[in-house]
C-alpha cells in the first residue's frame, strides 16, 4: 500500500537541511538576476543602436574582462577541488586551495573595480542613459554577489584553519562551494550578454 520507499524518503533525506537551503536560495537569486537581465534585454531591444549614439565612443573593456572571466572560472575549479580535498581529508591542500580561491575572487573584484574607474573616467556613468545605468546595476549586482561569496569564503577559511572541517564534517565547505560555483557560472552569461550585446 503506502510503499516502503515513501517511508524511507522522509527518513533518509537525500540532502541535508543546509544544502537544501542553499539550493533554494539559488532559486531566488536566479529570479533576481532574471529580473535584471529581463530589464537589460528590454533596453537593448528598445534601442536600435547600442550603445546609444550619445555614448557611441564608449567601448567596454572586453579583453581585460575576458581575462577576468578566465580567472573567475579557474576559481570555480579551485573551489571544487578544495571540497574534493577535504572529502579526502587532505587538509593542507584544502587550505591552500581555499586561499587560492579567495585570492582569485579578490583579484577579479579588483580588476572589475579598476575597470569601472577607467569607464567612469571615460564618461560612462550611472547617469549616462540606460546603457550606463543597466551596465553598472547588472554588473554591480553580480560584483556584490562575488563580494558576498568572498566574505563567506573568508569565514570558511577561518574555520578551516581552526580545524573545524574533516572528511566527514564539511557541510560548511559544501554549501559555500555551491554558492561560489553558482556565482562563477553566472558570470560568463552576464559577460557575453552585457559586453557583446
Amino acid at each position: 500500500m503506502m510503499a516502503q520507499t515513501e517511508f524511507e524518503m522522509t527518513e533518509n533525506r537525500p540532502l541535508s537541511n543546509a544544502k537544501l537551503a542553499v539550493l533554494i536560495l539559488l532559486g531566488s537569486e536566479t529570479m533576481l538576476f532574471s529580473g535584471l537581465i529581463g530589464a537589460f534585454l528590454v533596453f537593448r531591444m528598445g534601442n536600435v543602436t547600442w550603445p546609444p549614439l550619445s555614448h557611441a565612443d564608449i567601448e567596454l573593456p572586453r579583453i581585460v574582462t575576458g581575462f577576468n572571466t578566465l580567472l573567475l572560472i579557474i576559481s570555480g575549479f579551485t573551489m571544487f577541488h578544495a571540497l574534493r580535498s577535504i572529502q579526502q581529508n587532505r587538509i593542507i591542500l584544502f587550505r591552500i586551495l581555499l586561499i587560492g580561491t579567495g585570492l582569485l575572487g579578490l583579484i577579479f573584484l579588483s580588476i572589475q573595480g579598476y575597470e569601472w574607474s577607467q569607464l567612469i573616467k571615460n564618461g560612462l556613468t550611472l547617469q549616462s542613459s540606460v546603457y550606463g545605468a543597466i551596465f553598472y546595476v547588472l554588473i554591480g549586482c553580480h560584483a556584490v554577489h562575488v563580494l558576498g561569496a568572498v566574505i563567506w569564503l573568508v569565514i570558511v577559511i577561518c574555520m578551516a584553519f581552526s580545524g573545524r572541517f574533516s572528511s566527514d564534517r564539511h557541510i560548511g565547505v559544501e554549501t559555500c562551494t555551491i554558492y561560489w560555483i553558482y556565482v562563477v557560472a553566472l558570470w560568463p552569461i552576464l559577460y557575453f550578454l552585457v559586453y557583446f550585446a
Binding site: T10, A21, A39, I134
Partner: protein, 640 residues
C-alpha cells in the same frame, strides 16, 4: 523511529517518555500531564526576552506574526475608513478631528476642534495634520497616499504575515510532526526583518511630502518622478521597506520549504500532508521565486529616484521604458495574489473537512489544482496590462491563460462542495468562516473571469469593478479563512477557546457588512465609477452614485468596527476563555496530538504517521475520526 508509536487519540493520561532526541537544546518535558490542561513546566524557564521577544520557538514566532498582522490590519483598515469618508462626503471635514463648517466658511470658532485648527494654522509650522488634513478635510494628495498605503499595508503587512507568517510558522512543524522549523534563527530573523520593514514603512507617513502616492502597484513614471505626485522620501521609504520585506520572505520561504521537504515525521509522505501544509509549501515556493523579481524592480526604482538613472522614464535617446516596471511588477504581482489566496484555500479545506466530518473530496485533485494555479500564476501577468498597450495577439494569449485558471479553481470549489455534500455538518464558527470563504471566493472568482476578457476589460478596467473583485477574493477569501483559522486553531495556540457568542456576532456582522460594502462596487464599476479618484462628485456622470457611495461608507465603518469584536475576543479569551481540551474539534491531523498548550519541542515523542489527513466517518469504524498517528490495519485514506 519505530519506537515512537505510543500516540493514539485515546491519549493516555500519563504518558511518560524517555527522550531519545537530545540533539537540540530545547527543554524537553518528561513529567506527567493530564490532558494538557495545566500550565506546562519547562525544565528551565526561558527569560522573558528569549520567550516573548527574540523567541526561536516556531509557535511563538507564529503568534508574534499574528499579533503583528492584527495591529497592521487596524492600520490598513483605518486608512480605508478615512478615504471611504472622503468618497461618501467629498470635502467634508472628518468626524472627531475635523473643524466645523462655520470655521471653514467664515473662520468663526465654534467647537474646540476649531480652536485647535486655529492654533495649528497660526503656528505656521509644517505640521503633519495641517499638510495632510487641513481643517480635517482630506486633501487630494492625501487621498492618493491613503489608498496607496491601504493596499500596501493590507497586502504586504497583513495578509502575508498572518496567513503565511503566523499560520505557516505555527502549523507547519506541528502538522508535519517535527519539533521546530529547520532554521529557528532564520525564522526569528524573518519576523524581525518584517518588523523593521513595517517601521520603515510607517516612517513614510511622517516625512515631508507624505507617504507614497502612486498606488500599491507603484506604476512608473508616477512613482519615479516627484513632479507627478509631490511625494519625496515617502516613495523611497516605500521601496526600501518592500526590499526589506523581500529579505524577510526570502528567509521565511527558505525555512518553510526546507522544513516541509526534510523534517516530516516518519510516515508523513507528501500525499499525507494536510492541504493547508500543501498550500503553505506551494506559497513558499511562489514567494521565493516571485519576490526577487519585485526586488529587482524596486532596486531599479530606487536608482531612478536617488541616482538619476532613467530606467522607467523615457528620454529622447537612450531612455528607459515605463512599461518595464509594469512587466516586472506584475510578474511578481500575479503570483503574489495567489500567495494571498492559496493559504486561505488550504485553511478552508481544513475547516470544511473537519466540520463536515468527511474526508476532503478529491484530496489529490486539490493538491494538483493548487500546483496548477501556482504554475498558471506565472504566465498570466499580462492581464493586468491589457489597457497599458499590448499587441492584440499577446492580449489573447494572456486572456486564454487567465481563463484557464478557472479550471483548477472550479475543481477546488466543487471539491469543497463535494466535501460538504451529505456530511454531518457542524455549524461551528470556523465552519461558518469556511463556508463564507467558499461562497465569497466564487463571487470574486466569477467577476475575475469578466475582467480576463479583453473586450470586457476595456470598459471595466480601472473602475470599482476591479476593487470589488480584489476585495471579494482577498477579504472575502483570504480574510474569512484567516478569521476561521484563528478561531479554529486558537485552542491549540493559547489553550483556551475564543468566546463563541462573540465569534459568531463578529462573523455575522462581518459577513453582512462585507457584502454591503463590496457588492455595490460591482454596480459602481459597471456604471463607470473610476477607482483612485478623490472626488466622485467632480464628475457629472457619477452624481447619481452619491447615495451608493454613502451606503458603502456606512457599511465599511460597520465592517471596520466589527473587527474590534475580534480583537477584544482574541485578547480577552487568552486569559479568560474557556479552557480547551487537547483536541476540541476532534481533528485527525498531528497538531492536535501535541499537548495543549504546546510545549517547547512540541511532541513528547515524534509521532509516526499511518494514514492520510482526512479520515473522517470511515465506514465500519466506531469513531467518526481516526488520527493520522493511530496505528492499526485501517482502510486506506482518501488521499491514497
Amino acid at each position: 523511529m519505530q519506537e515512537n508509536e505510543n500516540i493514539s487519540h485515546e491519549h493516555d493520561d500519563d504518558e511518560q517518555h524517555e527522550h531519545a532526541h537530545d540533539d537540540n537544546d530545547t527543554p524537553q518535558h518528561t513529567h506527567e500531564h493530564d490532558d494538557g490542561q495545566h500550565e506546562h513546566e519547562h525544565h528551565h524557564e526561558e527569560s522573558f526576552i528569549r520567550k516573548y521577544i527574540f523567541s526561536l520557538d516556531h509557535k511563538m514566532i507564529g503568534k508574534q506574526f499574528l499579533v503583528y498582522g492584527l495591529i497592521m490590519l487596524f492600520v490598513g483598515g483605518g486608512l480605508a475608513l478615512l478615504f471611504r469618508w472622503q468618497l461618501a462626503y467629498p470635502g467634508r471635514p472628518l468626524p472627531i478631528i475635523g473643524a466645523s463648517q462655520q470655521y471653514i466658511d467664515e473662520g468663526e470658532i465654534v467647537t474646540s476642534n476649531d480652536k485647535r485648527w486655529d492654533k495649528i494654522f497660526e503656528s505656521e509650522k509644517e505640521e503633519l495634520m495641517e499638510t495632510h488634513f487641513p481643517n480635517g478635510v482630506i486633501e487630494d494628495k492625501t487621498y492618493n497616499m491613503l489608498f496607496t498605503m491601504h493596499a500596501t499595508i493590507m497586502v504586504f503587512f497583513v495578509v502575508v504575515p498572518i496567513l503565511v507568517g503566523a499560520f505557516g510558522n505555527f502549523l507547519i512543524p506541528l502538522m508535519i510532526g517535527t519539533r521546530d522549523m529547520a532554521f529557528p534563527i532564520l525564522n526569528m530573523l524573518s519576523f524581525w526583518l518584517a518588523v523593521l520593514a513595517a517601521i520603515v514603512m510607517a516612517a513614510g507617513f511622517f516625512v515631508p511630502g507624505g507617504h507614497a502616492g502612486a498606488g500599491w502597484t507603484g506604476y512608473a513614471p508616477l512613482s519615479v518622478d516627484p513632479q507627478w505626485t509631490d511625494v519625496g522620501w515617502g516613495q523611497n521609504l516605500w521601496a526600501i521597506s518592500l526590499l526589506i520585506q523581500g529579505f524577510s520572505s526570502l528567509v521565511g520561504s527558505i525555512n518553510y520549504i526546507t522544513t516541509v521537504i526534510n523534517m516530516r515525521a516518519p510516515g508523513m509522505t507528501f500525499f499525507r500532508l494536510p492541504l493547508v501544509i500543501w498550500s503553505l509549501f506551494i506559497v513558499a515556493i511562489l514567494l521565493l521565486l516571485a519576490f526577487p523579481v519585485l526586488s529587482s524592480a524596486l532596486a531599479l526604482l530606487i536608482f531612478d529616484r536617488l541616482a538619476g538613472t532613467t530606467f522607467f522614464t523615457t528620454t529622447t535617446e537612450g531612455g528607459g521604458d515605463p512599461l518595464l516596471w509594469q512587466h516586472l511588477f506584475w510578474f511578481f504581482g500575479h503570483p503574489e495574489v495567489y500567495i494571498l489566496i492559496l493559504p486561505g484555500m488550504g485553511i478552508a479545506s481544513e475547516l470544511i473537512a473537519v466540520n463536515s466530518r468527511k474526508p476532503i473530496f478529491g484530496y489529490r485533485s486539490m493538491v494538483y489544482a493548487m500546483i496548477a494555479i501556482a504554475f498558471l500564476g506565472w504566465i498570466v501577468w499580462g492581464h493586468h496590462m491589457f489597457q497599458s498597450g499590448m499587441r492584440p495577439g499577446m492580449g489573447s494569449f494572456f486572456m486564454t491563460t487567465t481563463m484557464l485558471i478557472a479550471v483548477p479553481s472550479a475543481i477546488k470549489t466543487f471539491n469543497w462542495l463535494g466535501t460538504m455534500f451529505r456530511g454531518s455538518i457542524r455549524f461551528t464558527t470556523p465552519m461558518l468562516h469556511g463556508i463564507a470563504f467558499v461562497s465569497m471566493f466564487v463571487i470574486g472568482g466569477l467577476s475575475g473571469i469578466y475582467m480576463a476578457n479583453t473586450p470586457v476589460d476595456i470598459y471595466i478596467h480601472d473602475t470599482y469593478y476591479i476593487v470589488a473583485h480584489i476585495h471579494y477574493v482577498v477579504f472575502g477569501g483570504s480574510l474569512f479563512a484567516m478569521f476561521g483559522g484563528i478561531v479554529f486553531w486558537y485552542p491549540k495556540m493559547y489553550g483556551r477557546y475564543m468566546n463563541d457568542t462573540l465569534s459568531k456576532i463578529h462573523f455575522w456582522i462581518t459577513f453582512i457588512a462585507f457584502n454591503c460594502t463590496f457588492f455595490p462596487m460591482h454596480i459602481l464599476g459597471v456604471g463607470g465609477h473610476m477607482r483612485r479618484i478623490a472626488n466622485p462628485q467632480f464628475y457629472d456622470f457619477l452624481q447619481g452614485f452619491e447615495g451608493m457611495n454613502i451606503f458603502i461608507t456606512m457599511s465599511a465603518f460597520t465592517l471596520g468596527f466589527a473587527q474590534l469584536i475580534l480583537v477584544f475576543n482574541f485578547f480577552w479569551s487568552m486569559k479568560l476563555g474557556k479552557v480547551a481540551e487537547k483536541n476540541p474539534w476532534n481533528v485527525t491531523t498531528l497538531e492536535w496530538e501535541a499537548p495543549t498548550p504546546v510545549p517547547h519541542g512540541n511532541f513528547a515523542q515524534i509521532p509516526t504517521v499511518y494514514r492520510g489527513p482526512y479520515e473522517y466517518s470511515v465506514p465500519g469504524e466506531e469513531s467518526d475520526w481516526i488520527p493520522q498517528a493511530q496505528p492499526e490495519h485501517a482502510p486506506a485514506s482518501a488521499g491514497d
